[in-house]
Amino acid sequence: MSTAADSNGPPTDSNLTDASDSQWNAIWIIGGLLQLLAISLLIELLLGFTESLGLMLRLSLLAIIMTCIVLRLGWLVLVAIQVSLFFQEPMRQPLEHIPSGLFFVLASMFAMVAAMKIPQSHRFVTDVFLTLFRIEIDQGSSTISSNTSETKNRRLFVRLSLAIWALHGTLIVLFAVFLLTKVPVGRQYDSWLQWSLQNGQAVWPGALLMVLMIALLVVVRENAWRQLEPSQARLYLRSIRLIANYRDLFGFERHRLRQLRKKQSAISANNAFGKSYSKGSK
């Protein structure tokens, strides 16, 4: 067995793996824990009602939130925030209050998405951690190296992902604000209703919407049909025919099986009779 001492060439992966394992594990664990802790603390801050609870209860709540995150229950984070808002937010707020809560919404979105990032992209905060502190790791050989193209690509990927996610989240929240201000909900609904009735229209242009919906449905179904593979299309037609003729076919099959069972029972009875007859003749 060759060792690092007796090899004349450059140090191989096997030589370096042992040395870098502890560093790797440390980075993985620290990164992951940091990620969990950051998200949990953020969510716990968002859930303002925990401030009145004791330390142990708050820690327990923190542990539950961490468990939810670990178990990929990102939707539960959303539900938790919603429940918190449901009980804490004052009712009948005017829409002008939206800009003040924008940061809160963005932070909530971040918490929700980051909760799902743990199992999904594995190293969200770890990568950020590595990128920020400029630790360059050649992941292919599991060794800490000076500079490789893969490391550069990975850093670029992390930065790009962060930028895209931030842009994406902000745009979504802004679009949601735009929709909420334009769609007649809340107090605006009354004025919209009055306007509709005064102009001799229905409560809502329902007929127009219905026609548009049907047209959209036709387009979607046609598009879905065109995207089917030939085997899927054949199977679809086959299943439609099956459903249409199922009762008759089931009747035929039931009759056939019944006849088959009768035949088999007759054969077994004949065999039994033949055996007993041959015994008797002996």
Partner: protein, 600 residues
């Protein structure tokens, strides 16, 4: 849409409704933003499915060649390279591409694992913080692609397990959005079929170490110690009317004052007839562990050594479908024909019927999910609604059966009536599933074949067929040939009387008959196995010892019976069996009743 996306959507809609009704702006905003976020993910995902996936066209190069219908060798390494032919763009989605490896290939783990695998994990990471680490991407036949890329390729190695065929079905791809809200699984068919030739031992030419004559005959010609038209003197005998004058030994006749005639040796080729019994009992087991694999290995090795010695090799390949006779062939070309025939013979035919059970259904469901996921989509594979059964488990089983019947109907091109028969008749369903699994290259192991069905149900018919094959070979034989019968005889010791007349006839016709019986343990049964095992015996050890003891008893009975008729018996597909056959062949070449001298 995954379950996660559904939960998000439900939570978002409920939150939005409550927020609007109660006039809670922030609640409405968060809920609406989450819904919009799902919508944006869907749009991105849909764009990839609609416009990027059709561009995906992976190519596979096996041993550097993209063409199929070539030959591979059992127990050798195959290098596979997968390359994406066209450039596609990925953004915000993850694509996993897996080259589905047939059952007859054994994947070799890549050195150092995948490119994304981390270091060896500590106890803490393995047991508590495993979720922090990246998933294990070290599956060599799989590639994970995340962000926009131009072209990609990866390589992996695999070992061919046994002779038969190797069919690469295609690629399984899983496209999912970054947060696993949407996922689609597809199977890209890219079928490449290869014939897997059996492995063999190339031990060169088998020659006795004892010097027998000064004149070495031509390659492939052997001196038989019987009177014939050779060049070497065999014996002198008294003249008989009809003997040619040129063979009269004049000097000896003058000395003895009696007409004497010279008798010359025969110069004949020694032919080998391989009789391989590939009945269903020999095909049970995983590839490389079947009794048939032992037999094809022995047959190919004997064929190679005989070819090296210039001896023609023929054979009879028989199973439940009938028998196929291979005329004696010599030379490398003849050997290749023999290998191809053995390779084709090793492909499993339709398995014997097996009763339907949940394991068989699950196996078929797994295969369909992997290779035909598009046919299990409820949108295209619909079935009639019924309130019954009410229990969730029963409803799930009913749904599974209807979907499978539809998919099988489409794959096998069945009529709708046959599809309904599959739904309600267990026998029909089991038969179709067995056909599908067998056609997909799944070996004859449970649940494809029930263990109870793997027993020899018609041993007498098998013995009769084997005897007929020997008689056919004797009928086509000339003189002094070697019949190598490879069959699972250990379980047929009690019914050898159906086989023995054929053996007796072959021996009476001056042929040599040698039996090779493969064993399930791949070892020669021995009484000393128990002594070799030391320390505490595990259950497997006990089972192994018991199996060896059983085989030993059967082997002794078998050898006793067949030795009485002048046939030799070798057990298991080890090299010793090949040596025994070659010794028999050597004896047949010289015409001696028993082989002598050291072997190679």
């Amino acid at each position: 849409m995954t379950r996660r996306a559904q939960l998000f959507a439900v939570a978002g809609m409920i939150g939005l409704c409550l927020g609007l009704i109660r006039g809670q702006t922030t609640l409405s905003l968060i809920s609406l933003a989450s819904l919009l976020w799902i919508l944006s993910e869907w749009l991105l995902f849909y764009w990839h499915v609609r416009f990027q996936l059709p561009l995906l066209s992976p190519l596979r190069f096996v041993n550097g060649d993209s063409e199929a219908n070539r030959s591979l060798w059992a127990e050798r390494i195959v290098e596979v390279r997968v390359q994406l032919a066209r450039e596609i763009r990925l953004f915000g989605v993850t694509l996993e591409l897996q080259d589905v490896v047939p059952e007859n290939l054994d994947l070799i783990p890549s050195a150092g694992g995948g490119t994304r695998s981390g270091p060896s994990k500590s106890w803490l990471v393995r047991n508590f913080l495993g979720f922090i680490n990246a998933p294990d991407d070290s599956v060599p036949n799989q590639k994970r692609l995340e962000l926009g890329f131009a072209q990609s390729e990866w390589r992996y190695s695999a070992r061919v397990r046994a002779a038969g065929n190797v069919v690469f079905p295609g690629f399984r791809l899983t496209l999912q959005s970054t947060h696993s809200l949407f996922r689609i699984e597809k199977f890209i068919r890219f079928e490449q079929a290869f014939r897997a030739l059996p492995s063999f031992v190339d031990a060169g030419e088998y020659r006795s170490l004892t010097k027998k004559s000064n004149v070495i005959p031509r390659h492939g010609v052997h001196r038989l110690l019987r009177s014939g038209m050779g060049s070497e003197l065999l014996e002198l005998r008294e003249y008989a009317p009809g003997d040619p004058f040129k063979s009269i030994a004049w000097k000896v006749s003058a000395k003895r004052d009696q007409w004497m005639t010279r008798q010359y040796e025969s110069e004949v080729p020694a032919r080998v007839q391989l009789i391989v019994d590939g009945s269903s009992t020999t095909r049970v087991g995983g590839f490389g562990f079947r009794l048939l694999d032992q037999m094809t290995f022995v047959a190919a090795s004997i064929g190679k050594m005989a070819t090296n010695a210039g001896d023609p090799v023929g054979g009879v390949l028989l199973d439940e479908r009938g028998s196929r006779r291979l005329p004696p062939m010599s030379g490398e070309k003849g050997f290749q024909i023999l290998l191809r025939a053995l390779g084709d013979f090793s492909i499993n035919p339709s398995p014997p019927p097996s009763p339907l059970n949940q394991r068989l259904l699950d196996a078929a469901w797994g295969l369909l999910s992997q290779r035909y996921p598009e046919l299990l989509d409820f949108k295209v594979n619909q079935y009639p609604f019924s309130f019954f059964p009410i229990l969730p488990n029963s409803r799930a089983r009913r749904r599974q059966r209807y979907l499978m019947a539809g998919a099988l109907g489409e794959i096998c091109g069945l009529s709708i009536r046959e599809q309904v028969a599959m739904i309600h008749d267990d026998v029909t369903m089991a038969r179709r599933i067995q056909e599908l699994l067998n056609r997909s290259g799944i070996p004859w192991i449970a649940p494809v074949i029930a263990l109870a069905e793997s027993r020899d149900r018609e041993p007498i018919r098998r013995m009769t067929q084997l005897a007929e094959s020997i008689l056919t070979a004797v009928g086509h034989a000339r003189d002094n040939e070697v019949f190598v019968v490879m069959s699972d005889l250990l379980n047929c010791v009690g019914i050898l009387e159906f086989l023995l007349p054929a053996v007796k006839l072959a021996v009476a016709k001056h042929h040599r008959v040698s039996f090779v019986c493969p064993t399930s343990t791949f070892r020669r049964p021995s009484r000393s196995v128990a002594a070799n095992l030391s320390g505490n015996w595990s259950t497997d050890d006990l089972l192994f010892v018991a199996e060896q003891a059983r085989l030993q008893i059967q082997a002794e009975q078998l050898q006793r019976e067949l030795h009485r008729y002048g046939a030799s018996v070798s057990l298991s597909g080890e090299k010793n069996a090949i040596r025994l056959i070659m010794a028999e062949l050597e004896a047949a070449k010289t015409g001696r009743s028993k082989f002598q001298g050291a072997s190679r």
